[in-house]
Every structure is written in structure tokens, then in C-alpha cells.
Symmetry: none
Subunit: 227 residues, 2 copies
């Protein structure tokens, strides 16, 4: 979940902003003064900070400078009423990533936050990490699967299905969900397609396919992957 921290002493503005951001699917925290904002930034390590400059206790410049001196590199968007060029230049020099002057439309602000997130997250590349269950290891980036260290040849559909199961871990995945996720939104034709591919996965990955210990059937519900 992407976390955004708003450091802003105007409660109304902070509330409006946080609501808009939450609607967009972000998790938002609000701090009303400088010291609280600094602590929150340290504790929560948010993905973006929206920072007011005029704050009680500790002004925004100081908050920003302190964070950067501590080596925290999350994007910071300064949102303030001070529109002098000198202020902006100072803000950027202290390590801000964007500087917006009030008043500003919510849509523009959202767009700017998204732009910062896109840029900051690009290198990270939230690739699905390698997963393991039992003696099986899954490496999504190369689409390979190892069992007891040696490679197992899975067909594309088999691999995608396995991935879909793994992503759910212990939870039940219905045939319909799996169909939708692996085969794409095709009509709800009753087919045994999922079953068949499950069988193949068991055959290739289970020690005893007749008594699966990882890829389990949940009667009337679907399948479940158990570590």
C-alpha cells in the first residue's frame, strides 16, 4: 500500500486532501505541526510527503533539511502559500521534488503526486519476489521453477496458474477466479480446464500427486496452496 504523509497545520485543507488521496487508493497520514511531521516521516517512512512550509513548532524547510540530512530520500512536495521565486529555489535546494503554490486544484496535486510516485518507484520495480513452498521454488522474473534445486519444465499456463495460486497463499482460489486471472475474462463456461492444469502441476511438483500436500482441493470452493 502506498503511504502518503501530509504535514499541514490547516486542518480543513489537510482533511480535504487526505480524503481525495484516500479515494485514489492511497493510505494517508496527517501531521499538524513540524515536530509531529518529522517524527511521522521517520516512523512511517511514507512514499511521498506533502509538506507545508509555515508550520507550528518547526518550519517546513527545517523538516525537509533534517530528513535529507538523515539520508531519507522519499519524494517531498512542498505545498505552500509562499510563491516567491526565492522561496521555491530554496525549497528545491534543500531537496524538494516539487513546489506547488496554494491555491491549487486537487486534480493537479494528485497528478503531481502520481508523477513523483511513478518516478520514485520505477527503479524499485516491485517484481514479484521469489516464492517458496515445500521443496519448490518459483522465480517469476525468469519464469522458472525449481524442485529440490533442479529445474522443472512448466508450460506457460501451468506457470501462470501456479503464480496465481502462490499469490493467494493459504487462501482459497475459486475456479472462476483462476479462469479470470490466468485465462482472461472469458465467459463462465463450465469447463474442466482449471482442473486439468492443476493435475499437471501436482504431477510435476508434488511428491505424491495422488495425495497432494501443497496444491489442495477445497470441495465446492476451489483450490488452495499450502506451504
Amino acid at each position: 500500500m502506498t503511504q502518503i504523509l501530509i504535514v499541514e497545520d490547516n486542518a480543513d485543507l489537510a482533511f480535504g486532501l487526505s480524503t481525495s488521496l484516500e479515494v485514489e487508493g492511497y493510505e494517508v497520514a496527517v501531521a499538524n505541526d513540524g515536530p509531529t511531521g518529522l517524527t511521522a516521516a521517520r516512523d512511517r517512512n511514507p512514499d511521498v510527503i506533502i509538506l507545508d512550509l509555515m508550520l507550528p513548532g518547526l518550519d517546513g524547510y527545517r523538516v525537509l533539511r533534517t530528513l535529507r540530512e538523515e539520508g531519507r530520500e522519499m519524494p517531498v512536495l512542498i505545498l505552500t502559500a509562499r510563491g516567491e521565486e526565492a522561496d521555491k529555489v530554496l525549497g528545491f535546494r534543500l531537496g524538494a521534488d516539487d513546489y506547488v503554490t496554494k491555491p491549487v486544484g486537487v486534480l493537479e496535486l494528485l497528478a503531481r503526486v502520481n508523477a513523483l510516485l511513478r518516478r520514485a518507484r520505477a527503479p524499485e520495480k516491485k517484481e514479484t519476489a521469489n516464492e517458496k513452498f515445500g521443496s519448490v521454488e518459483i522465480i517469476p522474473s525468469s519464469r522458472t521453477v525449481l524442485r529440490n534445486g533442479s529445474q522443472v519444465a512448466l508450460t506457460p499456463k501451468e506457470f501462470d496458474l501456479l503464480l496465481a495460486l502462490v499469490r493467494r497463499r493459504g487462501a482459497v482460489a475459486s475456479r472462476f477466479e483462476l479462469l479470470k486471472e490466468v485465462w482472461g475474462h472469458r465467459t463462465a463456461v463450465m469447463t474442466r480446464t482449471v482442473d486439468i492444469h492443476i493435475r499437471e502441476l501436482r504431477r510435476k511438483l508434488e511428491d505424491n500427486p495422488a495425495e497432494p500436500r501443497h496444491i489442495l482441493t477445497v470441495w465446492k470452493a476451489g483450490y488452495r496452496l499450502e506451504a
Copy 2:
């Protein structure tokens, strides 16, 4: 040397900007219309683009969109007289990193460009070092490939394709990604172009092209280079 491309039809403004940027130690190129700007962006691969929206030939939105569709991810700062929120939102949605409304102070613009550069360069441009797999050695700086120590003649496209594969190492590269990275745009067209060039690479680099050991096919997914 950090390269900045200015795409701006107002010659005076472009000149003033480029002078200021050069004083700051940047290498600046200027394009006066859309098509020229697009070509320059492709050829020079600048570190930042300052893009006007109202341009002769091809407007800034289109230039930006085309670049992003081609997979070019350099930061783009839109500099324009159009200050409507809808314009800004559109700009960001097309992949802009900043949006500045004329008139703007040179200092602010410099600060914003610097902020973009700082963020974009953080992951440190990994200059593709010499790479090896099997008995093949790749020297990107001279666009040369050696096999068992002797030079192999690759065509430009073949070399670019090989480079794209090498950059991913063990990970799967889809045909679409490769098309985007090596050929640029040309999306949506179902073609065997990638396949054909892969075949050439195998023919020239694999010991037994019929059973490739390095340039592997991943069914339904793409290709993968295995050391």
C-alpha cells in the same frame, strides 16, 4: 556531460534558456518544432527534456506520448503558457514529470530541472559494462561482439537486440518489450520481426543454433538470455 533538450518554437525564449543552462554547465540542444524535437530526443537521448506544448508540426502532448510509448523514460518538464488544470492533468497523465506555466523565473526553472536530474540519476546510470555469456563477449562501447576471441559481424538491429537481452540477464523479455526497446513504437503490429533477428543471433552466436543454450525461447512469454 548532462544533456538537456529544449523543444520550443519561440527562439528568444529558447536562446535565453539555453544560455542559462549552459552557464550552469549543461550541454544544451534546441529544437524549434515538434518533429525535430522528437527526432532529437531519439537521437541524443538527453537527460532532461524541456517541452513546449504549442509547437509547429506536432504538438508537445504528442511528442511526449510518442516518446513514452517508445519506452523512453527520461524526465520531461512541460513549459507552456497553457495553465488550465485540465491541461496540467493531461500532461502528467501522458508521463510528464513537471509542468510549469509561463512566465517563470529562470532560477525556478533551473531548480526544477536540477530536482528532476537528482531524482532521475539517483539509481546511477549503469553504463553497460562489457558482458559475457558462454564463449561470447560483448563490448558495448565499440559495438563489437567476440566469439571465442574472434569478432562476429552483427547488424545494428542484431546488436541492439542482443544488448536488450543482455541487460535483462536471466529474466524473460517479451517480444513486445523488445520491439519497444529496439525498434521503438511500431506496437500493435503482430510481426515476426523479433523472431527473425533472434534466429540470426542464434545462427551467429550459438554453437548449435538448432538447440540454443544461451538465447532461449520461453513459450508464450518471450526470450531469455542464459549465461
